[in-house]
């Protein structure tokens, strides 16, 4: 269906007929200020299709100033031109004209009109595509409108891709998913088994039972261990407490004791015999020692007497030696004094000789300085003249300036001469007098005329020649002037004189320098200082000659003699001290020996008679032999006492150990009995076996529940995936239309749709999903418009062309977005008819499209 024109009469503010004509395919724009009647236009179109002519509910059609609304709508449908004409109120009528011919009236016309498109509340496409002012959002409007729009969307989508429920499984799918999820939720949460759920209880039960099993197993192990221990302990006790064993231990102990006692008694007897033998030996040894001591003492006394004799002689010799050493010492000291005196005398002579030599040196120095002074004074006198000469004449700089000026003058001369006229005389008869130019004969060689000259022509007269300016005469003049100045400064008439003067100056300068150097050499401190030195030294007295070297030699010799005397004295002193010490030691030794000899003699007198001692020794020897024999016999018969002790100890220890073990076993068994009674009374093994069975069953239950979870998870996944795939297929055509439109606004945007109401639910931009409700008003407005355009395209593709009418549908969009929306409208307008009604003339200017206007009819 394509609208072509609409004419309104007595519709709201249109009291006079107005027409909007020239509505073409593609984009049509009616831009007019508010209150012009744009929305009335949409209502009028709506009324033509959906308000019966007999209806009294005129609503927005009712004329402001009374009258009967009348609307004529021209359109094209399936190649035919239709004119729909209706009037409401008085004279209500309805007519349908096709290609200029009336084909239906009244109810028939209404039926025909109704067949053109379905009412929006019945799901007609106009509910989707005709947007009233202020109802641009997809979910705005009254209940009937919204429901109708939903039906329209669903019908459209169903016609394109099929029934939504059929594709996605509808309520059965929802129910299956819901039930499966509910069963899953009863078992699991995101983090694991649901607290309080069956699976969690199963897991907990397994854990509890496992713990209980471990505890019971440990207790059962302790019980059986205790039983095993008690069995072993009882066996040990039975062995230890066996009467036969006990009797055997006691008998062994008694036998060991008896043997030990006998061995100890024998050991006592043997010890006594050993003591007796020891006493005899001691007595014998004492006698022997006494006899030996007497002999030693006698020999000792004799030795002491001999030693005393020798010591006396040594003492006398030492005393003599000490006296001699003292005498030698005294002699050395005398010689030393003599040497010292000689040395002092030589020293004095040396001092005198040195003094005389110094005086002589002084006189010589004075003479030297006096001669130097005379020479220096002469040089000082000559310096003045030399200075004068060194200042005369040009210095090097002046000379250089002069040379430069001369050179420049020469050059200028040369140039002037080159430029100057030249005069030469050729073919002069041989006898003719010479022609003179400025007094010089003129020959065939050309001579330049750089200045006025006089040419004497014998026989003729003088020719005054004035060459005038030749070449660079100015340069020559300047050069000459400079040369004159340089000569003046140099104080010479000519450059050669100036050079000679400069040379003389240099010579004088050199002489002056040499004189000054000689003066400095003679008087380094200056003439005044030299004069002072001469005056200070003076000539000095006339002294006899002295020989310090000889005096020095004599003094050195005396010093050597004195040193030798000192050394002799030192050695003599040492010898004297040693001799006195030796004498003292010898005397003391002699005294000691005397004392000892006296003591030895006294001791010897106190010992017994030797004959008595010999007899006593014989008796003691005999007794000793007898005791030795007895002791040997006892020793041979002695039992092994350590072995007897060890046997007894072993037997005693075994007996005591057995008693101790028996007591310990009884105590241990008592404890084991108590422990076993305690553990075994609870039916541990029964409990353990039962717990293991329960644990097995609990694990099987848990495994079954986990399997159940996996089954549910797999089922939910399969259902969700199938449903999502179906939804994708369902919305694919719509999204295919929508995608390029969305990309005009956002490069990578996607829309997701709610499967229930087929409205956009989320906008995905840059991978981020945003709920439609959270978007700005402008964005929602734009999305709504694009969705409507996409639906319009789908309708058109299914063969149902319905115009898109937008009454101020972009009120919240900013300028940039409006441009993008314009682009979208243009893109869609190629296949559709779009009618844009707006009061924003300036904003829509860039929209382009066909401009419509209200045309007032007469």
């Amino acid at each position: 269906m394509r609208l072509r024109s609409i004419t309104l009469t007595d519709v709201r503010q249109f009291t006079r007929p107005v027409r909007v004509a020239g509505i073409g395919d593609g984009l049509n724009v009616l831009s007019a200020p508010n209150e012009t009647g744009k929305s009335t236009l949409l209502e009028a179109i709506h009324a033509v299709f959906f308000l019966r002519h007999s209806s009294k509910k005129l609503g927005d059609l009712r004329p402001d100033v009374g009258g009967n609304p009348e609307i004529t709508l021209e359109l094209e449908q399936n190649g035919a031109h239709l004119r729909l004409h209706k009037r409401w109120g008085r004279g209500a009528m309805a007519e349908v004209w096709r290609d200029g011919a009336l084909i239906a009236r009244a109810d028939e016309a209404e039926a025909l009109i109704a067949g053109l498109t379905t009412a929006p509340e019945d799901g007609g496409p106009s509910g989707l595509l005709w947007v009233r002012q202020g109802f641009s959002a997809l979910d705005e409007g009254d209940k009937a409108t919204l429901k109708g729009a939903q039906v329209a969307r669903r019908d459209l989508m169903s016609s394109v891709t099929g029934e939504f429920d059929a594709l996605t499984g509808g309520r059965r799918m929802d129910r299956a998913l819901s039930l499966a999820q509910a069963e899953m939720d009863a078992l699991m949460t995101q983090r694991g088994p649901k607290a309080g759920g069956v699976l969690e209880a199963a897991v907990r039960r397994v854990a509890d039972l496992a713990q209980r099993e471990a505890d019971l197993d440990a207790r059962a192990t302790r019980l059986h261990t205790a039983l095993d221990q008690r069995r072993a302990k009882r066996r040990d006790l039975a062995e230890l407490a066996d009467p036969v064993e006990v009797a055997a231990r006691q008998s062994a102990l008694l036998a060991a004791k008896t043997a030990l006692d006998a061995a100890e008694r024998h050991a006592g007897t043997l010890e006594t015999a050993a003591e007796v033998l020891k006493s005899a030996r001691i007595e014998r040894d004492a006698l022997r020692r006494e006899i030996a001591a007497r002999g030693d003492l006698t020999a000792q006394v004799a030795a002491l007497a001999q030693a005393l004799t020798r010591a006396g002689a040594a003492d006398a010799a030492a005393q003599h030696h000490a006296g001699a050493a003292r005498t030698a010492l005294l002699a050395c000291e005398a010689r030393q004094a003599t040497a010292r005196d000689a040395r002092r005398e030589a020293e004095a002579a040396l001092q005198t000789a040195l003094r005389l030599a110094a005086l002589q040196a002084q006189r010589a120095r004075h003479a030297q300085l006096s001669a130097a002074l005379i020479e220096a004074e002469a040089l000082a006198l000559g310096l003045g003249a030399l200075r004068q000469a060194a200042a005369n004449g040009p210095d090097a700089a002046a000379l250089q300036t002069l040379d430069d000026a001369a050179r420049e003058a020469a050059i200028a001369e040369g140039l002037a001469q080159q430029a100057a006229p030249r005069l030469a005389l050729h073919s002069q008869p041989a006898d003719a007098p010479p022609v003179m130019l400025d007094g010089a004969p003129l020959g065939p060689d050309p001579r330049p005329l750089t200045q006025a000259a006089t040419l004497d022509l014998p026989g003729i007269g003088a020719l005054h020649l004035t060459p005038g300016a030749a070449g660079d005469d100015l340069r020559l003049q300047r050069a000459r002037a400079a040369l004159h100045r340089a000569l003046d400064k140099a104080g010479a008439a000519t450059p050669a004189a100036a050079r000679a003067a400069a040379l003389a100056r240099a010579e004088a300068q050199r002489a002056l320098t040499e004189a000054q150097a000689a003066l400095r050499r003679l008087a380094p401190e200056g003439l005044d200082a030299l004069r002072a030195d001469v005056a200070r030294l003076g000539a000095g007295p006339d002294t006899p000659p002295a020989d310090p070297a000889e005096a020095q030699a004599r003094f050195d010799s005396r010093c050597g003699d004195e040193a030798l005397a000192e050394a002799d004295t030192a050695r003599a002193r040492i010898t004297d001290a040693s001799a006195r010490e030796a004498a003292l030691a010898a005397h003391l030794t002699a005294q000691g020996l005397t004392q000892r000899l006296s003591e030895g003699q006294d001791a010897l007198a106190a010992l017994r008679d030797p004959a008595l001692l010999a007899q006593a020794l014989v008796d003691v020897e005999a007794a000793h032999q007898a005791h030795t024999a007895r002791h040997a016999a006892l020793l041979a018969a002695a039992p092994d006492l350590p072995a007897c002790r060890a046997s007894h100890e072993r037997a005693r220890s075994a007996s005591e150990r057995a008693i101790s073990d028996i007591n310990e076993l009884r105590v241990t068994l008592s404890g084991l009995d108590a422990s076993i009674d305690s553990l075994s009374g609870d039916g541990i093994d029964e409990d353990l076996a039962d717990t293991r069975l329960k644990l097995g069953a609990a694990r099987a239950d848990e495994a079954a529940l986990r399997h159940e979870v996996e089954v549910l998870r797999r089922l939910i996944l399969a259902l969700t995936q199938a449903r999502d795939a179906a939804r994708e297929r369902y919305f694919a055509p719509l999204l295919a239309e929508l995608r390029p439109l969305l990309r005009l606004l956002w490069p990578d945007a996607e829309l997701r749709f709610d499967g229930e109401n087929l409205l956009p639910s989320e906008l995905v931009r840059a991978g981020r999903a945003e709920a439609i409700g959270t978007l700005s008003g402008g964005t929602r407005e734009q999305i709504a418009l694009l969705v409507r355009l996409a639906f319009a395209r789908l309708l058109a593709k299914s063969g149902r062309h319905v115009p898109v009418i937008l009454d101020d549908a972009l009120v919240f969009s900013d300028d940039d977005r409006i441009e993008a929306m314009f682009t979208a409208l243009h893109a869609q307008a190629a296949d559709l008819q779009i009618l844009v009604l707006s009061c924003r003339n300036r904003a829509l200017r860039p929209l382009g499209g066909r401009k419509l206007a209200f045309e007032t009819l007469t």
Partner: protein, 377 residues
């Protein structure tokens, strides 16, 4: 002796067993049933004319039964004062359980005889009991060997009483632990060798028998428990009669299914016909093979319907694979997402390249989907 000497041969009472792997509701019934074994044995002995009841080991389930268990057992034995109980230590209640045997010795009623020595015991005039008590859980040797050398009065009946494996039962421990010579009765000239350890009644030879447990306690030995009434005459083979005594009937049965087989019929055929009887039945059905989705659902529903009849019932479909029938997926949905999801799960369940667990999960998801959709139907 012209009259036969009659005795009741029982063993493996396992008093004190708790059945922890079963639900609480049936556990207590099973525990109580075990305690009622003693009065039932006494009744059976009297009915069969026996005065002596031989308990060939494992009277108690553990070496440390609770005081309630052994005391109540003694009381029950004492209550049958006209009978004599002969108690042999088994591997579960060997002589290593000293506290137990000491307690039994201290508190045993006069009619209870603890045969704890491998030595002949005069059971009755002309009847000698040759017991082989277990000194510990795994003796590691044939304890009946001594019986061949045991001297008994001329013409006396020789009764052997032992506990342990004759064959490689693998009931407890290894085959090498104290295996009894299968021809011990012949070797030792026994008129009858009463054995315990195997929980099912089994005749080894005409003179050697396992009596089984008088109250079954596991699925391994299906059926009810029993005891053996034995009548002995010198020179004659013993007359052995099986006396069903157990309250509960245990059974584990297989339910092999193939597509096309009526699963419900096959299932129902495995159930006891008498519904009232089922109360004392413990039944475990292991389904295997392949079945359609509908068959899976039907089986589950049938199991859920049947379970309350039983003391304990379980249908195990772990080994039952899903085979999709022609209309199985259609029953879920003809097209759309549900159908696609079901097809994905079915493909995954049938993909041999995937691990078995993955396939099992996919099959489970598919059957669950069927169940959820049926719930909403």
């Amino acid at each position: 002796m012209s009259d036969a000497f009659r005795l009741l041969h029982s063993a493996d009472l396992h008093l004190g067993r708790q059945f922890g792997n079963l639900p609480e509701a049936v556990r207590f019934r099973l525990i109580e049933a075990r305690h009622q074994i003693l009065p039932r044995l006494a009744r059976a002995a009297r009915e069969s004319g026996a005065r002596d009841i031989l308990l060939a080991g494992d009277t108690f389930d553990s070496e440390t039964p609770s005081a309630a268990v052994w005391k109540q057992a003694l009381n029950a034995m004492a209550a049958a004062a006209d009978l004599r109980w002969w108690l042999l230590p088994g591997n579960h209640d060997s002589l290593a359980a000293e506290p137990l045997w000491e307690a039994l010795a201290r508190h045993a009623p006069p009619n209870l005889h603890l045969v704890v020595e491998p030595a002949p015991v005069d059971l009755a005039p002309g009847v000698v009991l040759l017991p082989a008590p277990l000194p510990r859980r795994r003796p590691g040797r044939d304890l009946t060997r001594w019986m061949a050398e045991a001297a008994t009065p001329e013409g006396a009946l020789r009764l052997g009483l032992a506990h342990g494996p004759v064959l490689d039962f693998a009931e407890e421990g290894s085959a090498a632990d104290g295996t009894i010579a299968p021809d011990r009765a012949r070797q030792a000239g026994l008129d009858y060798l009463a054995l315990g350890d195997w929980h099912g009644a089994m005749q080894i030879d005409p003179r050697t028998a396992y009596c089984g447990t008088p109250e079954a306690e596991g699925f391994r030995h299906a059926g009810r428990g029993m005891a053996l009434a034995v009548a002995l005459r010198p020179g004659a083979l013993p007359e052995v009669a099986r006396l069903p005594l157990g309250q509960f009937h245990w059974a584990e049965v297989a339910l092999p299914l193939v597509p096309g087989l009526d699963p419900l019929a096959a299932f129902s055929a495995l159930l006891p016909i008498d519904a009232a009887e089922r109360r004392d039945h413990l039944l475990r059905i292991r389904a295997s093979g392949r079945a359609s989705l509908a068959a899976h659902q039907a089986l589950q529903r049938a199991a859920e319907a049947a379970a309350p009849d039983f003391a304990h019932f379980r249908l195990d479909t772990t080994a039952l694979e899903v085979e999709l029938a022609a209309g199985d997926l259609d029953s879920l949905d003809h097209s759309g997402a549900l159908r696609n999801a079901a097809e994905a799960l079915a493909a995954e369940a049938a993909d041999p390249a995937l691990p078995p667990e993955t396939r099992r999960i996919a099959a489970g998801a598919l059957t669950r989907l069927q169940a959820l959709l049926d719930t909403g139907a």
